[in-house]
């Protein structure tokens, strides 16, 4: 069995049956009596002054209950990082992208609300717009935000060690560039929310979000509702992946309209509006140089990033820092220089998406490693093995790898894929490629400057029945955090999993920063473990007293109590329990005292047993500017080997096989860890081969649908040989750390390196559409 009773198994998810039967309710599945429907008016132009808004006709349309613009909503600025609160709920003075929110309407039904939008007359003075990040930063480009000259949201310059000197020592310096396009998270459930005020002015906002806590704060701040009167409740969520990790104009509008009308207001984004809202992966331009010794030892890196951030900052500051900080590992370096710029453009705002700012720069770097290996005549996988860090190493930018199973990951995929049998031996048109990556296990600091705990949890034992109730503000969005919490609590308490219930995603319960930066297993899990142990201690204290023994001699295992390893003499306790349950026909039986009985005794002695747990990372990171971003209590890491077949005549790429090894510290639930790995790889494959958000010359999205924005179907994704590596992270609950975001990191470069192996074409622009690869092969033929 192993050292654990509950964790490390393949227990089915707590919510799987509800989801399999259609019983699980998502935001749009809720209704309330008298509910109104809201809709948002969005700018049809990419950049313009608002001269006038006339809502009078809309207001008069029968069935319309409220029309709000910036005038009614107010002008409290918000955003994600307090250092860049650059948005207002509705545009005032100007609109900055096609889709910018200008007004909102609540009406008796959606059709009426949409009709009302048509009746709102907005006079715009169109302004020149800029859509390219390089153009946006040039002298004379249209200015998008007055406070940010040169349309520069943020600029980062960091240097660790002396890069010039280090490069001078190198035998070889290799360059590479990579450009991707904006992505969309394409979660299958579009955003939706339902806002309702009660008669005491308390708001309950049900919303499909990853971050109830941040939504609560933003809504309270923007609408000036006392924060204690805002309750955000997350129902089941149909995927998040990053874009749902911030408060949306949808949520704020619903709350505003609910307050104005005194009625519940439901609002949805259509699929098209999901694209318009975006807050998804930025466009990145990566330009980097790697300096090495001729034996393959990595010495120094010069890294440049230019990001297209769209019209507002969103997560963008963290993004542009991550593009630099996440190259500090997983290889040992003597020096690293990073220059990053994030530009505003007149397009939807970009935010955080799985792997955040690290994904494209990781892809570029891993291609650079392959390029370098080739020039040195080294096997690229071997070159990686030569340079990787190990547990206990600290990166040049002061990220502490308290556990790092990088070597094991690389060796597993090397052996699991049959690397040596294939590398260099495949026929033309077939290729094999490898890559590595790593990621934070929760950001070291909350998004807003604060001393807040990142997670607090209550574990309440039922007064009767021995049920363990976990109460947490954390967000189950499909990744399995509820089940993770239950398994950790069950393990810590010594009870079977089916004794545990989870209530989560409600800001009235506890504080939890939510599902982003791959944090919940390590951080919330830590708090759950602490709370469960706290509850356990209280039960044990009472039992020790009743059994007149040392609390340390009491073990709870599989819901049974052992005293000094044996059953102990608990007859009196059982008698007491049965006396309290006269009439029951299924009394506790068996040779051991049950947890149910013990918990009952504890309640009788102490009242309701509540364990509390909390987690806040220690002060992490260096003292340099921006050091906070990239810090984390721990880092997950992974390696991948991918095999492709390229149709040499059309440029079509088929991914035939993927071997993936991820170090998650400890797999709390093996099935769920594998699921996150496979899902990450599927997203990486899509971003590499198919996905891009396309714009026309006026800043309108050309492919705002799931038909034209192409995510992999069941026919496009191969099976993954999924290998779990466990390095037992000392700072993680039971050794656990992240998997949800880190697993995507090596995917794009492994595919790109395999494509190079198959065709000799080094990709510098994504996605690798058949046409792009075809043209690359054609150009290569010409060269020869």
């Amino acid at each position: 069995m192993g050292e654990f009773n509950v964790i490390s198994t393949r227990a089915p998810r707590l919510d799987a049956a509800a989801k399999a039967t259609g019983k699980a309710k998502y935001a749009d599945d809720f209704s309330m009596p008298g509910m109104l429907h809201g809709a948002i008016l969005q700018s049809p132009i990419a950049h313009g002054k608002i001269l006038n808004i006339d809502i009078s006709r809309a207001r008069r349309l029968p069935g319309v209950k409220a029309v709000m613009t910036a005038k009614e909503a107010g002008l409290v600025k918000y955003g994600v990082s307090p250092a860049r609160y650059d948005e207002t709920l509705y545009a005032y003075e100007k609109v900055r992208y096609v889709g910018d929110e200008v007004a909102a309407v609540a009406a008796v039904d959606l059709a009426t609300a949409l009709e009302a939008l048509q009746l709102i007359k907005v006079d715009y003075e169109e302004l020149p717009a800029v859509f390219d990040m390089f153009e946006a930063m040039k002298e004379g480009a249209p200015l998008i935000h007055d406070e940010f000259p040169g349309n520069l949201t943020a600029e980062v310059h960091q240097e660790f060690g002396d890069t010039e000197a280090a490069m001078a020592e190198c035998d070889l310096i290799v360059d590479h560039t990579l450009l991707n396009k904006r992505q969309d998270a394409a979660f299958i459930e579009p955003h939706c929310c339902l806002a309702n005020f009660d008669l005491d002015g308390k708001l309950t906002l049900q919303t499909s979000t990853q971050v109830p806590h941040y939504v609560m704060r933003t809504v309270a701040m923007v609408l000036r509702i006392p924060v204690g009167n805002v309750r955000v409740v997350k129902p089941y969520v149909g995927g998040g992946f990053g874009p749902k990790a911030e408060a949306t104009p949808l949520e704020m509008s619903a709350a505003l309209l609910a307050r104005e009308t005194g009625k519940p207001v439901k609002m949805n984004y259509s699929r098209e509006q999901v694209f318009l809202h975006s807050r998804a992966r930025h466009q990145f331009y990566a330009e980097m140089s790697l300096g090495v010794k001729k034996d393959g030892t990595m010495v120094a890196v010069r890294n440049k990033a230019v990001l297209d951030g769209g019209a507002y900052t969103s997560f963008g500051i963290a993004t542009v820092y991550y593009s630099g900080s996440l190259l500090g590992g997983p290889y040992k370096l003597k020096a690293m220089k990073y220059d990053g710029m994030r530009a505003y453009t007149n397009k939807p705002a970009c935010g955080a998406q799985r792997g955040h700012g690290g994904v494209i720069h990781r892809a570029a770097f891993e291609q650079l490693v392959d390029r370098t290996a080739q020039q040195l005549g080294l096997d690229p996988l071997e070159m990686r093995l030569k340079n990787i860090m190990a547990t206990g190493d600290v990166t040049i930018n002061e990220l502490d790898m308290s556990s790092l199973g990088m070597k094991e990951c690389l060796e597993s995929v090397r052996d699991g894929s049959g690397w040596y049998k294939k590398k260099g031996k495949l026929p033309k048109g077939k290729g094999i490629g490898s890559a590595c990556g790593f990621f934070v296990s929760g950001a070291g600091y909350p998004i807003y400057r604060s001393d807040t705990y990142h997670a607090t949890v209550m574990v309440k034992l039922s007064e009767d029945g021995g049920i363990v109730n976990i109460l947490s503000g954390s967000a189950e969005i499909g990744q399995g955090s509820d089940t993770m919490m239950a398994m950790i609590a069950a393990e810590a308490l010594g009870v079977p999993l089916d004794c545990v219930r989870v209530v989560s995603g409600d800001t009235d319960l506890t504080v939890d920063l939510g599902a982003y930066s791959s944090r919940q297993t390590l951080m919330t899990g830590h708090a759950v473990k602490e709370a469960a142990e706290h509850a356990r201690a209280q039960v044990v204290e009472v039992l020790a007293d009743m059994m007149k023994c040392d609390p340390a001699s009491i073990t709870i295992r599989e819901g049974k109590l052992l005293f000094d390893g044996g059953p102990g003499k608990f007859d009196e306790i059982r008698k007491t329990y049965m006396k309290e349950h006269r009439g029951w026909t299924d009394p506790p039986s068996g040779d051991y005292l049950t947890f149910k009985e013990a918990a009952r005794m504890a309640y009788l002695a102490k009242g309701t047993i509540v364990g509390t747990g909390k987690y806040k990372p220690p002060k992490l990171g260096g003292s340099y500017k921006g050091a906070a971003v990239g810090t984390s209590p721990a880092y997950g890491c992974s390696a991948q080997v991918v095999e492709v077949t390229v149709d040499m005549e059309t440029g079509e790429v088929t991914v035939d096989a993927m071997t993936d090894a991820h170090d998650c510290g400890r797999a709390i639930n093996r099935t769920q860890v594998e699921g996150q790995m496979q899902g990450s790889l599927s997203m990486g494959l899509g971003e590499c081969l198919f996905e891009e958000v396309k714009f026309d010359s006026r800043g309108r999205i050309l492919n705002a649908s799931l038909g034209e924005y192409k995510i992999p179907t069941a026919l496009d994704m191969p099976n993954v040989n999924t290998i779990i590596v466990e390095s037992n992270e000392p700072k993680g609950p039971f050794g656990a750390k992240e998997v949800g975001e880190g697993a995507i990191m090596p995917t794009i470069p492994a595919i790109l390196n395999a494509i190079y192996d198959a065709t000799g074409v080094r990709i510098t622009e994504l996605p690798v559409s058949p046409e792009r690869l075809y043209m690359g092969m054609k150009a290569k033929k010409k060269e020869k």
Partner: protein, 297 residues
């Protein structure tokens, strides 16, 4: 996404439907599978005042072989039904193949051949297949009936010769002669749920199992405002023994027939290159199919 309001009609006989069409004509759209019309209505591209459903009209879905010398496919037959039809796969392969590649399994259960032809999207799957099979479509109006060869059916993107008062009731094809084989090829990004970037249908007739090509038909989609027959490429083939080199030449010739556009899905240059590649491939597949021709039991 909401559908705009419309008046809904559900005729139970063909006569009733044709009467409605004659009265409402230009203000009505015919609803068959709905996988195109309802999408366009939700996107506010089409806003018909009237929608006439074919759901209750008997006799439009059947696939009826005509005693060894042809087949009549009801315009209301679904892509799924066509993709599972044994005789279609055997003798009218390009159509069965094209049907099997349309959209997704869910779409195929609703999308009809009539809809696919009448909607006339340049990248539609079935038109090139119907063209190489020399299909004719039967159009009925209240007072009249006519058969139009598919080759003359398409006018431009979304435009065909069908009149507002006409309904397509069937697609009819003669069984190709012995030693005929066909194929359909679709180039797209993903392997499902895709609109073709370029598609090709081909039908080759050999003199005998090892013989020369006596007839060839090639049709291309998504590379011109309508699907096009590559007549010049066909001429390259006729009278010659099949070979890779011959097919390559046919492919190169096919490019000349086309006027693909550059749009966000792909450039003209790439589409032209792919016409060449796909034509060659489709011909090879058709050849293989022709060589394994067997008489029906």
């Amino acid at each position: 996404m909401l559908l705009p309001r419309f008046e809904y009609h559900e005729p139970t006989t063909l006569e009733e439907a044709l009467k409605l069409l004659s009265e409402l004509g230009g203000n009505a759209k015919v609803l068959a599978g709905g996988t195109d019309l309802l999408v366009r209505m939700k996107q506010k591209i089409d806003r018909p005042a009237h929608v006439i459903s074919l759901a209750r009209i008997p006799g439009l879905k059947e696939v009826t072989p005509r005693n060894g010398h042809g087949i009549s496919v009801g315009a209301g037959a679904s892509a799924a039904a066509l993709s599972r039809h044994e005789l279609l796969w055997d003798r009218f392969t390009p159509l069965a193949s094209a049907s099997s590649r349309l959209g997704s399994p869910l779409i195929r259960n609703r999308a009809t051949i009539g809809g696919n032809l009448v909607n006339a999207r340049p990248a539609a799957d079935m038109p090139p297949a119907c063209m190489v099979l020399n299909a004719t479509v039967k159009l009925k109006s209240r007072s009249d009936e006519r058969d139009v060869p598919v080759a003359e059916f398409f006018r431009g993107p979304g435009e065909t010769v069908i009149e507002p008062n006409e309904l397509m009731v069937s697609v009819n094809m003669e069984t190709p002669p012995p030693w005929t084989g066909g194929a359909y090829f679709k180039l797209a990004a993903r392997k499902s749920l895709e609109i073709s970037l370029v598609n090709v249908a081909a039908l080759i007739t050999l003199k005998s199992s090892n013989g020369a090509i006596v007839d060839a038909k090639i049709a291309l989609g998504a590379v011109a405002p309508t699907p096009v027959r590559a007549y010049a490429a066909e001429q390259v083939l006729i009278g010659n023994k099949p070979s890779d080199k011959l097919f390559q030449k046919a492919g190169e010739t096919g490019v000349g027939m086309c006027s693909p556009i550059t749009d966000h899905r792909g450039t003209m240059e790439y589409r032209c290159m792919m016409i060449e590649v796909l034509t060659k491939r489709c011909l090879s597949m058709a050849l293989e199919s022709a060589r394994s021709w067997k008489p029906l039991k």
